[in-house]
Amino acid sequence: MRFVFKTSYQQDLGLFRDGIQRNWYVALLAGLMLLPLLVPAYLVDISLVFIYGLCGLSLMVLAGYTGLVSLGHAAFLGIGAYAHVYLAQDLGLPWVVALALAAAVTAGAGVLVGLPALRMTGIYLTIATLAFALIIQEVLTHWETVTGGLRGKAVARAVIFGVSFASNEAFYFLCLAVLAAALWLTRNVLRSPTGRAWVAIRDSEIAAQSMGVNLAAYKTMAFAYSAGMMGVAGGLFAHKIGYLAPDIFTVLLSIQFLLMVVVGGLGSLHGAVFGAVFVAMLPVAISEARDAVPAWAAQVFSAFGAGAGQAVGDAVDRFVKQPALEPGVFGLILVLFILFEPRGIYGRWLKIRLYFSTFPLYKVATFKRQKVYMRSERLR
């Protein structure tokens, strides 16, 4: 186990704990740079991981750090996507300007949702954001002059400063760069007074208020920041899918974003990225499994006779071809994580890392939390 010997306050303000940790991140970045050479076939899927990473980051700021759970983030993604495409294609603004304006428009929408949301807490806020998402879906469907309505809207490839990002490799690097920048900015905010105020609101609103945190201002700020980042993600998402239609930005997508932050691990930026990898890759894994599992099952059960193998293979095939399989698997995983690993993949990773760094002295109790039952007099 390594101990960092601190000799200056600067060390606690750095992005990384020490040089060794920084080198790991540099190595990770180098690995991601080389990835297009190694797995060219999966580049499009990995670009989606980066875009989902932005979405996860956005919701992580709101739900994981400020404690405001939203089920309306697919709507913000939709607003960002349509605004970006409308500004860049219909109005002919430069790509970067269009994306920045789309982010600003989405942030504005975030403020609009945030304002009434200031008076609500917990589940009621979640319901309000859900209602907002449904309203936005209707708007996207019916505001045909801007959105193209149900016919949808084709999205051209991105061209930034005259450079075309049409190829999969170029788009991959674009998404990677935006995600890295977003991670850096978010980390900066979180290690500043604003980030601390958000965490304070999450853990105890009343104490935050008594310490001078203006709840309304900081909650609105969290909504605006989160929505703005979702707007940027929306712009990239539009290019990724190539064709916008209102039925993409459904509540189911919002639930997937929430799944992302819960499965990744609430309250950590790592968690947002882990969750994004998980949620973006799960459909890929499911579709691979759809092809492979029936044949594999048939082979295993053919030990009991050719007829048995055939029957089992057909049954499994019928099961995995169910259209509802994917949301079902998502839901099941969400439930299992909440039951068995509430701190998500990142929490599990911390435990594994501690296990190896303290081997053979690891204690299970290290991560145990005391249960406290004295919140009864809590003021709300």
Partner: protein, 252 residues
């Protein structure tokens, strides 16, 4: 010149008159204690001062300014910090982060600067850190600096909460039952700290307390309440021996 003044405070919760005609003054540099049986309205006074409740009647004056109607988040900026009876710390943050949040009223960086973490933000963060380290030093919290609150024992949390309030650089510190849940030794430490807070840091203390040994040890003035009405006001000894106070506690 009084630092803090409550005049004729009153508040109703439905059919319960929680406070009725409470008036007191706190002199700068003193320790003013409010005692009373459960439900007497002690914490309600705190919640009125920190503007969590709106006073039904009466006036609160701090440094000569009327604070009866300022927004709740503005109270800390004016120089009033508080702790809570059941501890309201930020459980999933470290002790250091909790203390740094206490510096929130001294925030001078703008959001855009923070987004880019400009050198100015870094310099301000160091400034906040130095202020927090002074409090850590004062309250002997060095061993716990990096611990999550959720991992700390109750007695330490109580001290951290007081430290967070001190980080705001208050002129008036409201302590809501600083000794509740503490052992005898920890309570004795608390008495020393309260004396140091007024003596060394020059901060005025307004506290609610049940432990009479602590009350007698530190208080300059004591106010006894029952059913929201003031019973007696004076030194700890005078109030303890007041016949109305004895009756309120022992019945009869």
């Amino acid at each position: 010149m009084t630092l803090f003044r409550a005049e004729d405070l009153a508040i109703r919760f439905g059919g319960v008159q929680a406070l009725d005609g409470v008036t007191f003054e706190v002199e700068p540099g003193s320790v003013f204690t409010i005692i009373g049986p459960n439900g007497a309205g002690k914490t309600t006074i705190f919640n009125l001062v920190s503007r969590i409740y709106d006073a039904g009647r009466g006036r609160l004056t701090f440094r000569g300014e009327d604070i009866t109607h300022v927004p709740a988040h503005e109270i800390a900026r004016r120089g009033i910090a508080r702790t809570f009876q059941n501890i309201e710390l930020f459980e999933h943050a470290t002790v250091l982060d909790n203390l740094l949040l206490g510096r929130h009223t001294h925030r001078r960086s703008r959001f855009v600067e923070e987004l880019l973490f400009l050198p100015r933000v870094r310099a301000l963060e160091i400034e906040h850190r130095e202020a927090a380290e002074k409090v850590i030093d004062f309250l002997d919290l060095m061993p716990y600096r990096e611990s999550l609150i959720a991992n700390l024992p109750y007695g330490i949390r109580k001290v951290v909460e007081m430290g967070r309030a001190l980080c705001t650089d208050p002129a008036l510190l409201l302590l809501d039952e600083p000794s509740s849940g503490l052992s005898v030794e920890e309570t004795a430490d608390m008495a020393f700290w309260i004396k140091d807070i007024t003596g060394l840091l020059g901060i005025t203390v307004l506290m609610v307390e049940h432990d009479m040994s602590l009350v007698s040890a530190v208080s300059d003035r004591v106010l006894a309440l029952n059913y929201g009405r003031p019973l007696a006001l004076g030194t700890a000894r005078e109030v303890q021996e007041h016949p109305e106070v004895v009756r309120a506690y022992l019945g009869g």
